[in-house]
């Protein structure tokens, strides 16, 4: 059984039973899973984790659902790669790339949906649904295919073709909505009141969100049971960002890594949709919703549900937030591809360009151990970097080749 006790409102601390609920009836605050840390900390150990499955379920003691092979598509335990070329280019000595773009449906969303779909089955749902900027659509659809649940995914109508296809291929019903993600999300909140479906990021959200804690655990384990000095991650709703921090702290509390956690959490957004980072830069804890207009579409949430908590995470970790310009989104994608052979989507480009700024400004010092989170795959959003394609067109002769490439082996 999962080591869970209840759901609790983050704002007014009212308790609720473990049910498909995400909002406090009293103050509308977000509900969070309360864990039995005594049981977790007594049960877990480095040895137990290290001998567990090579997926995020090696951390099952810390997750709010029981492992369920019916829905598991092997999310998580993705590579942590020591960077050479990018590190050198940025003047950093110890830079790691958490490459979460190689999950089964090619984004970190498999982590949250792995938990949400297992919990949905526990609750007896036969249909799973979501509002999505694309990656979640794919993850929900893939897990539904595996588990035999029906799936409805709701997306903004301007989504990249690759994002739509990589959700549709698994057989979900795709509902393309005329409007931004925030509009889609509002519609889904209304539908969630009407249909008895597991909307992963609405009524199952407390469980879903905790799947991202594994991004903290995994990095700590892969660094040799320690937390990095800096972590740089992109943010849309801000949920993943807060859960990485939560994961690191839970590991410290369980004695798996040293305490206290001294990781500085740096949040990255693009100029065209930066409600969280802008609030940080303006030194306010109130998020002003914006109308997204960004090429980093997976980050285009104008009214981020966890924005406030992301700001608190920055504050308590001594981190920062970075806004990158719109043209730096694709530049970051290209820089990572060119230096490390990893092709990420716009969100990864935002993280890389933010990392570059943090290194240039001296916020991250050359000797600081740093991890940058790459959360999605570039193959879904090829439109973003179409300008790299300019093949040499030649006749099939050696002369034509050598004339075109201006190289000659004599």
């Amino acid at each position: 059984m999962a080591n869970t006790i209840s759901l609790r409102c983050r704002e007014c601390s009212r308790d609720y039973p473990i049910e498909p609920l995400n909002v406090c009836e009293f103050c509308f605050g977000p509900l969070e899973v309360v864990y039995d840390y005594g049981a977790i900390n007594a049960s877990t150990s480095r040895e137990k984790i290290a001998s567990g499955p090579r997926s995020m379920w090696r951390y099952a003691d810390f997750l709010p659902a029981d492992y369920n092979p019916v829905t598991d598509i092997n999310a998580g335990f993705t590579p942590l790669i020591r960077s050479r070329n990018l590190a050198e280019e940025l003047g950093l000595k110890e830079l790691y790339i958490k490459n979460d773009s190689v999950n089964p449906s090619y984004s970190f969303k498999d982590r949250v949906v792995s938990v949400a779909s297992a919990k949905a089955l526990e609750f007896g749902f036969d249909t799973i649904a979501c509002a999505s900027t694309g990656n979640l659509a794919g993850a929900v659809s893939a897990h539904a295919a595996r588990s035999g649940m029906k799936a409805y995914v709701f997306i903004p109508s301007d989504l990249e073709a690759g994002k739509v296809l990589t959700a549709a291929i698994y057989g979900a019903t795709i509902v393309s909505v005329d409007g931004s993600y925030d509009v889609v999300n509002r519609l889904c909140s209304e539908l969630a009141d009407k249909y008895r479906w597991a909307f992963v990021n609405i009524n199952v959200r407390p469980f879903y969100a905790d799947g991202s804690k594994t991004l903290g655990y995994e990095v700590a384990e892969q660094l040799g049971w320690k937390a990095p000095v800096h972590a740089v991650a992109p943010a849309a709703s801000g949920a993943m960002f807060t859960k990485i921090w939560k994961g690191l702290n839970e590991f410290a509390d369980a004695g798996l890594i040293d305490t206290p956690v001294n990781t500085h959490m740096h949040l990255a957004q693009a100029e065209g949709c930066s409600p969280i980072a802008s609030a940080y830069l303006d030194d306010r804890f109130i998020i002003k919703p914006v109308k997204p207009d960004s090429v980093a579409k997976s980050l285009a949430i104008g009214n981020p549900a966890d924005g406030y908590y992301a700001l608190k995470t920055i504050e308590s970790s001594g981190g920062s937030a970075v806004v990158v310009e719109e043209n730096e989104v694709s530049e970051g994608v290209k820089l990572l591809a060119r230096t490390e052979g990893i092709f990420t989507e716009g969100a990864g480009g935002v993280a890389i360009s933010a990392l570059k700024k943090l290194a240039q400004s001296g916020t991250i010092k050359p000797n600081d151990q740093t991890v940058v989170y790459i959360t999605g795959n570039g193959l879904k959003t090829v439109e973003l970097v179409q300008d790299v394609v300019h093949p040499l067109l030649i006749e099939p002769t050696v002369d034509a080749f050598e004339a075109a490439v201006d190289t000659k082996v004599s």
């Binding site: 704002e11 995400n22 909002v23 406090c24 009836e25 009293f26 103050c27 509308f28 605050g29 977000p30 509900l31 969303k109 949250v112 509002a131 999505s132 900027t133 694309g134 990656n135 979640l136 409007g179 993600y181 925030d182 509009v183 999300n185 509002r186 889904c188 909140s189 209304e190 969630a192 009141d193 009407k194 909307f199 990021n201 609405i202 959200r205 879903y208 969100a209 849309a236 709703s237 949920a239 993943m240 002003k288 919703p289 109308k291 997976s298 980050l299 285009a300 949430i301 009214n303 981020p304 549900a305 966890d306 406030y308």
Partner: protein, 92 residues
């Protein structure tokens, strides 16, 4: 003619489980006042002690977040639809 207000699940215990309520109001403050006279106590769920909209409540007028309009002063017309939606949802 009147204005339709969509009531979210967490507030339906105030409205005898009604998911839609009709009011006749000139602006959003009126809407909330009328809701509260129909369903005493509902205002405290929507507004904080300072009379501002609670942080985790989103209100939409015909699908537009009223924070992009005039907030609580947003004018309401006959035939409009006001939607009250808990803010805590989503994650791309």
């Amino acid at each position: 003619m009147s204005t339709t207000v969509r009531i979210p699940g967490p507030l339906r215990r105030y409205t005898d489980n009604a998911d839609k309520v009709q009011v006749d109001a000139g602006n959003l403050v009126d809407v909330i006042n009328q809701l509260n006279s129909l369903f005493p106590g509902i205002q405290d769920r929507l507004l904080d002690d300072a009379g501002e909209m609670r942080y985790f409540v989103n209100v939409y007028l015909n699908g537009e977040d009223v924070r992009f309009l005039q907030g609580l002063e947003t004018p309401i017309n006959d035939g409009d639809e006001v939607s009250i939606v808990p803010a805590v949802a989503g994650g791309s």
